[in-house]
Symmetry: C2
Subunit: 167 residues, 2 copies
């Protein structure tokens, strides 16, 4: 049922401590915005297949904040941050994995309309050191990225993500 889309591109910037991910979806920008801001939808697709996500705190608006916990084989992995800006074409937020509580990345998501019901998601993660950035790249993050976005593809194909503002 799911369209075969390009897999995610994950790139390390050569001169900045940045990871850039891009991924095309059979979705409008409004649908991708909703998938990233509606907590029930977000919990259904984010992360690896073997992880169950529970949203603990969620206010997806400019100046709001968020926290979710992923459970995998009985282990809990917490993540939290604040929303610097939430607007239809762009989300800027901070990101901490609580296993490294002083590590913080600044994430910028943009939704690029490709026309014809397709949208390219761009995610930029800015770290404050190359060591921190490279440790993140070596952590196996691509499994969560690829499996998560495949789940998002499936939700879109099943008509589970309507356009329009959240309730």
């Amino acid at each position: 049922m799911t369209d075969t889309m390009a897999t995610a591109t994950i790139e390390a910037d050569p001169t900045l401590p940045i990871i850039r991910i891009s991924r095309d979806f059979a979705a409008t920008p409004a649908q991708l915005f909703r998938a990233h801001t509606d907590p029930e939808l977000f919990a259904r697709w984010v992360g690896p297949d073997a992880t169950t996500t529970t949203v603990d705190r969620w206010d997806a608006s400019t100046g709001g904040s968020w926290r979710f916990v992923g459970t995998h084989d009985g282990m809990e992995f917490g993540f939290h941050g604040c929303f610097h800006e939430v607007r239809p074409d762009r989300i800027v937020q901070t990101f901490t994995w609580e296993g490294d509580p002083d590590g913080v990345a600044l994430e910028t998501l943009t939704f690029e309309d490709l026309g014809g019901g397709r949208t390219r998601l761009h995610v930029q993660s800015l770290c404050d050191s190359f060591e921190g950035r490279d440790a993140w790249l070596r952590s196996g993050m691509e499994t969560g990225v690829d499996q998560g976005y495949a789940k998002l593809d499936a939700l879109l194909a099943a008509g589970q993500i309507a356009e329009g503002a959240r309730a």
Copy 2:
């Protein structure tokens, strides 16, 4: 009345898009924390002498957010961000000058106890490009930094900044 303290050191990292400021104060870490989290106190010292600061939004807690407006010669300069983490020895927040609304820096403030009632403030500002970082350095920011911290020295010397939690 005010102690003559070292002026602020402002440094550009050679390999990362980071500005680092450090400045010693005749204050405890708790007093510096209060000066950065109590909105009435903050508005009294931040920025250049010729600027009047009005706090528009302020929740200095983990997951909170802030906005203030500086008025100078009838012109208004807005700034806003969210608080990723607020704890006694460290504040992590985002920072946007609204004249460049898509520009965002990730700021980390730490309060290093030097003993004897002296504390070293460290401010790290992480930008997502060297161009953005260098434009900020060329903007005349050192005037606001030096004059602001001199006002904070004066508030401390006048006994205006008590220790202890805010109300």
